[in-house]
C-alpha cells in the first residue's frame, strides 16, 4: 500500500513543511488581530515573489503529503485497495494541487498578469 517511494515522499514533504507551517502559524497569529480584510491580505501578498515561493512550495508539499496520508487512512479504515486506492490518492493530490495553485496565484500575481 505504501512503497518506499511514497513513504519517503511523505517524510520528505513533512520535513519541508516544518518551517513552512511554523511560518504560517506565526503569520496567522500576527495578521489575525483586528480581523482580516481582502485589502490587508492582498497588500501583503500581491506581487511578492517571496510569498509566491513560500506558499507555492507549501501547496506542492501539502498536496503530496495530504494525499499520501489520506491514502494510508483510506486503506486502513475503509479497506480501500488496488486501483481504487491509487485513483483516490491521485485525485486528492491533483485536486489539492490545482485548488492550491489557483489560490496562490490569485493572491500574488493574478491581477498583475491580467
Amino acid at each position: 500500500m505504501l512503497n518506499l517511494r511514497l513513504y519517503m515522499l511523505q517524510r520528505l514533504t513533512a520535513l519541508v513543511m516544518v518551517p513552512l507551517v511554523i511560518g504560517h502559524l506565526a503569520m496567522m497569529i500576527y495578521a489575525i488581530q483586528d480581523g482580516l480584510t481582502v485589502g490587508e491580505i492582498l497588500q501583503r501578498t500581491q506581487g511578492s515573489v517571496a510569498w509566491f515561493c513560500f506558499y507555492g512550495l507549501f501547496v506542492v508539499a501539502v498536496s503530496v503529503h495530504g494525499s499520501i496520508g489520506f491514502r494510508v487512512i483510506l486503506h486502513e479504515w475503509a479497506n480501500l485497495r488496488g486501483r481504487a486506492l491509487d485513483l483516490v490518492t491521485l485525485a486528492t493530490g491533483i485536486g489539492l494541487l490545482i485548488l492550491g495553485s489557483r489560490a496562490v496565484w490569485a493572491v500574488t500575481f493574478a491581477e498583475l498578469a491580467s
Binding site: 511554523i22 504560517h24 502559524l25 496567522m28 480584510t37 496520508g69 489520506f70
Partner: protein, 118 residues
C-alpha cells in the same frame, strides 16, 4: 494488569495525529476556494472574511489552528521516533513526554491565536 491500548498515551497521540490530518485535508479545499475568490469575486471574499468575525467562527478557527499546530508538533515527534536512534530503554517514556509536550505546545499556539482573534 496491562492497560488497554486505547488508553495508552501514545495511542491517543497517534489518533490525534490521524484525525487532525483528516480535518486538515478536508478543510484545505475550502481554504483554497476562499483565497481564489480574490481572482473571481472580491465582494464574495470580503463577505466570507466578514463572516469570520462571528464568535462561533472564531472558535472554529481556534480549532483549526489547534489541528494544524498539533499535526505539526506531533509530526515532528513521529519523525524523531522513526529516524532517531533509541538512546535508552526508556524510549517509550521519552515519547510519552514528547507527545504530551506536542499537545501542550499546540494548545499554547492556538490559544495565542484565539486571544489575538478576539
Amino acid at each position: 494488569m496491562k492497560k488497554p491500548a486505547r488508553t495508552h498515551r501514545l495511542w491517543l497521540a497517534y489518533m490525534l495525529h490521524r484525525l487532525s490530518g483528516i480535518g486538515l485535508v478536508l478543510f484545505l479545499p475550502i481554504h483554497f476556494w476562499l483565497l481564489s475568490l480574490a481572482l473571481t469575486d472580491r465582494a464574495a471574499m470580503a463577505d466570507a472574511l466578514q463572516f469570520t468575525a462571528h464568535p462561533l467562527v472564531k472558535i472554529a478557527e481556534y480549532g483549526l489552528v489547534f489541528l494544524l499546530a498539533v499535526h505539526l508538533f506531533g509530526g515532528v515527534r513521529l519523525l524523531v521516533l522513526e529516524w532517531a536512534r533509541p538512546v535508552s530503554n526508556r524510549w517509550t517514556d521519552v515519547h510519552k513526554t514528547l507527545a504530551a509536550f506536542a499537545v501542550a505546545l499546540a494548545f499554547a499556539v492556538s490559544t495565542l491565536f484565539f486571544l489575538r482573534a478576539l
